[in-house]
Structure formats: structure tokens, C-alpha cells
Amino acid sequence: MVILSILLLAAALPFSSVFYFSSIVINRVAILVLLLSSLLAFNTLLLEPLGVGVGIYGGVCLVSVISQAFDCFILASGSLLLVLATGILPMKSLYYWSSTREEITHDPLSKLIPLILLLSTLGMSCLVTSSDLVTVYLSIELQSLPLYILACLYRDSEPATSAALKYFLIGALSSCLFLLGSSLLYALSGLTSLEGVYLVSSLGVGYSGFLIPVLFIGLAVLIKLPAAPFHYWAPDVYDGVPTLVTSWLAIMPKIALLAFLLLYQGLSQIGGIVVTEQSVWGFILLGSALLSLVLGALLGVAQYRIKRMVAYSTISHLGFLLLALGLVTPQGLEAYLFYLFQYVVTSSNLFFVLLVYSNQVLETWGDSTVFLEQPKPEKDPSEESYWLEGLSVMRTPTTKPLLISSEYNRISCFHSNPVLALSFAICLFSMAGIPPLIGFFGKLLVLTTALDSGYYFLVFIAILVSVITTGFYLRVIRVLFFDSIHFEISRSTEMILRRAVLSESDPKPLHSMVIATLSLIIILFLAYPYPSLNSLHLIALSFYFW
């Protein structure tokens, strides 16, 4: 379905200038495609016939209950995040302020974005079902190549390009490690199928030799997820690339790669050497979880740009996820799945809110062309986050000479749009794990299962760390509700900004609908938790006890 629609879209794009499709139409089509294919995946999620899994396409893919569930989830969240892409303003319109709304909707670039994102989603859903080293590699490439392209979408801005380059190089490094590992596995076993490798390795011949390639592959995946010892690229990249791409980067590949880590677990249990009743890989997972938890929280406190802070909080969440994955129990798996679910819901809501905020700024800048003599912006227009910088920050760097804070803009975000600020706060609280919200239950599940398995130290650390993260979420909330916004721009645009803040440009209806729905899910999960919890429980049980 996705393949077909990609081909159709690719074929339709050249005609779009003739028949005058707007980019919004194409985006809507892509959203519908993803939703429908998610429904298809949901439809094929049949417990009985799938059983332990059915190999398709000559055994390069393995469809099992859990892979179908992940597939459904990935496609659904992909369609959700594509809604964001409707709001993207292409670079050109940022440079030439005079460009009208028509020009934006008919920009060829914004027509291509849904197509690229669809390709990426296809790669992810392939990755989830793949059971062969070649398929895994190809689908990892298919899912990350579009992201490299999207990351350098704003190619005229220096931070965005450097972030994109960094992302690309890190991705290449991780691919290299993956290829090294898989070629070693192939050299040892002569097989590329994951199950075949597992069988050969369990024969006992060259048992410990399999450890190193397996670890290489696992480390490659850990680099791609920014799990802790390898996380240094994440904040830079998330901060540099446009917010739309950040949202995609921070959520989608993580789901797919985490699903792959889960499916890969069978192979990675080839520990060889057993360290404290755990395989080496489990040990590495737990160590990485510990490091992610600690580093994500401690470094997150020091950030003053909101996207960097989000990146560090992502790393800290990854710590929880890896912790749940590292306990190899059905309860752990259930906690893992639930945590992933709530993480995706919460952080996509967060990104929606962020993007709406930054769009407001861009739009108010956009319609203020009247005041600008020069058609060029003062600074880098891709930095949607100068304003967000002011949002998240207590100490706006005063070293920059252009900083002004006049009394015109002494108005807090809460007053400019109370509902939006409220849902932002809900998201942040949920990420911090404040009890009635969904994030609390995720953390609760992970921590209780870890306690059951006897990891007292890790649980202790995790609780400490979640207190620290609450600290930095609360800081943002303080700025949101009690501080006035400091715009960091030159004096010449001060007049415009006065208008900008006072005129409340509303978010797009679709965006606000999504934000409302997600916020309601976050709040009201408490009222009716059974469907999600029960289905996750079933999936976890089917993974272990079929």
C-alpha cells in the first residue's frame, strides 16, 4: 500500500504544476495513505494464524504479531506526524517576505516532503518485519536516507547544514559498524538470515566468536538511537535541523529501531560470557540505560535552548526504555511497549505545540513585510528557535548585542494563548511523570518491573533522575506561565514584534485538533486504560509464550 502510493505520488508530482494540486492536498493524501495502511496492518494482526511468525518473501521478512503491532503503530504515528508537515514553511518564503500563501502552498519543495516522509516510513515498517541481515540493513538505509535529505532542508543556514552533515556522518558511522558486524556474522555462519545465524550459533561451534559481531550490530543501533555513551550528536542535530524534521527524527526512527532491538534480542542473547545472570548484550543495554538516564538528566539541566533540552529529555526517556528492554521478562516487554506508546504520544504532542509556537512567530514575521525595507531577515531564518530560546531560557545570552527587551513584549505565553500553554504544560508534566498523566504510568510500569527483577540500584537511580528531569521541565513551565518573552532581535524589527505578540495568530485548525486530542489522551488515559494496556499485555505474552 505504501509502496503503491509512493509510486503514485511520484508519478503525480510532475503533473501537480499542470493540474495545480496544492501541497496541502498531497500532504492530506499521504496522511490518509498512512492511516489506511495502518488500518491494514491492524487488520492483519491476527493472533492465531500469525503465531510465532510467518516468513514472507522467501524468508527475508518475518511477520509476527509484534511486528504487525509495531507496523500499525509506526504507520499511525507517521500519519500523525505528517500533519505537522502541512505547517512547514519552505525556505524560499522565509527569504522573500513578499511570498504569498499561494506561493507557499504551491512550492514544489513542500510537495516533495510527504513523498520523502512516506519513503522513510516504508523503511521503518520494513525494518520492523525484517528477519534477514540484508533486509535489516537496506531498510535502515531506506528509513534514514530521507531523514538525511530532510535534515538539510534549510540548506542556506549554517547551523542547519552542519547539523545535517553531522547527522549524516553519524549515520554513516553506524552503518559501517552494522555492515562490519553483519559481514563478520556472515563470515562465521555463511548465513544472512537472523534465525539461521541464531541456530548456527547455538550449535556450540565457535560460540563465543558470535559475540563480537552481534555486539557491533547492537552498538550500531544504539548509535542510531542516541543512547547514552553515543548520544553526543543528538542535541546538536535536534537543535540545528528545522523543528518539523526534529519531530520526525526524535520519534519515528526510534520506534523502528527500538522494535528492531526487541526482535534482535533473540540473537543478542548469544552472550557467550555471562555477566551476573545476564548476557553481555543485556549488560550493555542496562549500562547504556543507566548512562542515558544520568547523562540525559544532568546535561539537560544545563541547556537553555528548548530543542536541546528536548533532546536530552529524549535521551533520558531512552534510558527508561532500554532499562525495560534490558530486563528480559514479559512484564519488562509490556512496560517497554507501554513506555514507547506513551513516549510517542507525549513527545509528538510536545513537538506539535513547539511547532505551533514557532509557526506563530514565523507567521507574524511573515505578514509584517510592510515594515521591512530589506527583504532579508537579520539572522538565520531557519532558527525558529530564537524565540523558543527566549521561551526556554532564564539566562538569555546577553553577549549578543542585539538583545532587547522592551515593555511591549512583556506578556507571557500563557496570556497570549492560554489553552496552548496549558497543553504544553500537560505534555511536560506527563514527560516528567506527574501522577494522573500517562507518563506516570509508563515510568511506574518500568520501575515496578525493574524492582520485581531486583535491579534496586537502577531503580533508585531512575527515580533520582526523574526528579531531576522534573526540575528542568518545571523551569520551562515557569517561563511559560510567569516570565515574559524576551525577543532577541534588532531594534529595527521591534515595531513589528510589538504587533507580532499582540496579534494572536491562531494555530491551524488541524494542528489544534491534534494537540487537543493528544492532550486529552494524556489526561484521560487514567479513566479508561484497559484497551491499550490489555492489548499490550497480549502482545507481550504472545511474544514470549506462544
Binding site: 509502496i3 518473501y57 522467501g58 514544489p108 516533495l112 536516507l145
Partner: protein
């Protein structure tokens, strides 16, 4: 005819390789480099390694060398005299060349071929090469390309589709980046 070609092509390859180094004009150098690749791929095709030959043609000639050519033409290096360049890189080049030569010699020794300076007639190498390939000549119909095609289209069609999509993306990507 085949034997003649087998003798001629390596000779041409050697000659054009020498020209690659000695050419004053970098564009000519790159053109000779393409010549080297072409002759080598012809040689490989003649001794039956068809897939390797095609890979040489597509990747080295089709992509890399043409890219070089364009880069060289864009950079407009015509006026640069290569002989006046500082010769810092000579030791490195010497080390690299000698290591390559050593590995080549050790490889040839492994193949039980008499030391190849003994006879300058290159044709002596050919029977030994073809004798190592003799078992494959029993499967006359199944060449490399056949085997690869069977594997790709029959066993792993999905992988082929995924690769195709990646290539599609590689076409779309530059368009997006240049818009």
C-alpha cells in the same frame, strides 16, 4: 582472436595507466584513467568474470571517473603544472606502490605461477588463471550474471524493490536539495 585480445587489453591498460601518471593535462589523465577501467573491464569480461566487468563499467567508468572528469573540468586546472608541485607525496606513493607490488607478488606466488619477471610474455599467466576457473566452465550456461539474476529476481525480489526505492530516493534527494 580471444587470446590476442587477452594479450592486447592488459597491454593497453598498462600503457594508459602510465599515461595517467605522466599526462600534463589533468583532463587527459582522467580520460586515460577511464581507458584503464575500460580495458580492465574488457579483460575481466573475456576471462568470464562478467559481473565484475559490468561493475567496473558502471561504477568506475560510469560514475566515479565521470565525476572526476567533471570535477577536474569545473576546477579548471589546465594551467597547473604538475611537475612544479612539491614532491612531498613521493615517499608515500613509494610506500603504497611497494606494498601493492608485494601483495601482488605474494598473490602470484600463491597461485603457483613462476615468478613473473621470468618471462615477459603475459600469455603465460592466462592458462593458469583459466585452469583455476576450469571447474566453472562445466556450468557453461550459468554465468555470474545468471546466478546473480536468479538470486535477485527469484530469491530476493523484495530486496531488489527496496534497493530500487532507495535509488528512487537518491534521485529525488538532489532535486529536493537543489530546489
Amino acid at each position: 582472436m580471444r587470446l590476442f585480445l587477452l594479450e592486447l587489453l592488459p597491454f593497453l591498460a598498462l600503457v594508459s595507466a602510465i599515461f595517467v601518471i605522466t599526462a600534463d593535462n589533468p583532463i587527459l589523465g582522467v580520460l586515460f584513467l577511464i581507458g584503464v577501467f575500460l580495458t580492465v573491464s574488457g579483460y575481466l569480461a573475456l576471462i568470464g568474470l562478467t559481473f565484475l566487468a559490468l561493475t567496473y563499467l558502471i561504477i568506475y567508468v560510469g560514475a566515479i571517473a565521470i565525476l572526476f572528469l567533471f570535477v577536474v573540468m569545473m576546477m579548471d586546472l589546465n594551467l597547473l603544472d604538475l611537475s612544479e608541485l612539491p614532491s612531498v607525496s613521493f615517499p608515500v606513493a613509494a610506500i603504497l606502490a611497494s606494498s601493492l607490488l608485494a601483495s601482488l607478488i605474494s598473490l602470484l606466488n600463491q597461485c603457483n605461477i613462476p615468478f613473473w619477471f621470468d618471462s615477459l610474455n603475459l600469455i603465460h599467466l592466462i592458462p593458469s588463471l583459466s585452469s583455476t576457473l576450469s571447474w566453472s566452465s562445466t556450468f557453461h550456461l550459468i554465468e555470474h550474471l545468471h546466478v546473480l539474476g536468479l538470486a535477485l529476481y527469484v530469491a530476493f525480489p523484495l530486496l531488489l524493490i527496496i534497493v530500487g526505492l532507495i535509488l528512487l530516493l537518491a534521485i529525488i534527494g538532489p532535486i529536493v536539495l537543489c530546489l
